[in-house]
Symmetry: C2
């Protein structure tokens, strides 16, 4: 950072560079950008981040991030309380809400089982999920289509099915708007296997 | 932003999205990242930005950003005060310092002449440059090799040369590590024109 003439500027750039996906060059550009903003805008930016960190915690029901005791989805009277969609992270909830079409509740695991990385069932919000399952008719496993995602879905399925609850898994298949020729073998095989009647 | 369950989180993401080169998806990712950091790290991040904005201003000599009255380069006794390298922005000073090899002083114009965008000589730090030129032997025009950069270099050259000061321009030519076949016509023509004896 020796090329920086100003120490506070170098420190700000260093902080930006710590963010995921932000390299030194971008960090430098962002730090310079801050100097060109009105002082109150910079303060608003800084405060919004601290505020988010301070006020946001986990929903006491679905474990998603919220600033209230129970998140807006869990406390929404209009949502179907019989269906719970289990996801890895809060980002996945955002993805579903953005896509629309699902009006049940969510449960955020905050991770996936990964014995290689030392992540076991105790590290995930599984206890909290099981304790929610009274009066639930269906649990949708919406973990990522990866080895860890599959393993976690299988593991949870084996616990939840004996409770007399229907457990489903997101469909594998071709992504919309893609081309057959670019699909990988596993996806193509799954798409064929899970073909639907027209 | 309706897909966000938490308002403070949405506000933080919105602030990130205002940064140059950061889209909504990255902003969301960064906001989520903040929630996973220890609270004191988030505060350090926020404070470093506000601190930079509050304490950094323009050097009274070269107009580069600094938190002191005169920047560390201008106040460095070991630098050659006979040569001034004129650049468009503080980023360019960083680039030269990173590359090394220049031990003179800088002058930051904070922009380039661009009549189309209504940027005239009064909008740039040209007055400040002229007033520094006592006892200076050479002024290097290190503006970008663009139309505006060229025009600004020419304009300043016409003012400074009559003062009996040597005015030079950065060399045009092939960038190091590049391939001839990918060079554009202007660059290739300039590289040929400015060829040096081996």
């Amino acid at each position: 950072m020796s090329e920086f003439v100003s120490l506070p500027l170098a420190l700000a750039a260093e902080q930006f560079a710590k963010l995921p996906g932000i390299g030194m060059k971008t960090a430098q550009r962002l730090a310079y950008h801050m100097l060109n903003l009105p002082e109150n805008e910079v303060k608003t930016f800084a405060e919004s981040i601290v505020k988010a960190r301070e006020s946001v915690h986990l929903c006491n029901c679905c474990q998603n991030f919220t600033e209230r005791e129970q998140c807006s989805i869990c406390s929404d009277e209009n949502r179907d309380k019989n269906v719970i969609c289990v996801v890895e992270s809060p980002k996945d909830v955002s993805a579903f809400e953005r896509a629309g079409g699902f009006d049940g509740l969510y449960h955020v695991l905050h991770g996936l089982l990964s014995p290689m990385d030392g992540i076991t069932a105790e590290d995930l919000k599984i206890k909290e999920l099981i304790s929610r399952l009274t009066d639930v008719k269906e649990v949708i496993m919406a973990t990522n289509p990866t080895v860890e995602g599959e393993a976690t879905a299988m593991y949870l399925g084996r616990i939840i099915k004996p409770m007399g609850i229907k457990v489903t898994r997101l469909a594998y298949g071709l992504p919309a708007g893609s081309a057959l020729e670019f699909a990988d073998d596993v996806t193509l095989a799954k798409a064929l296997e899970n073909r639907n009647e027209l």
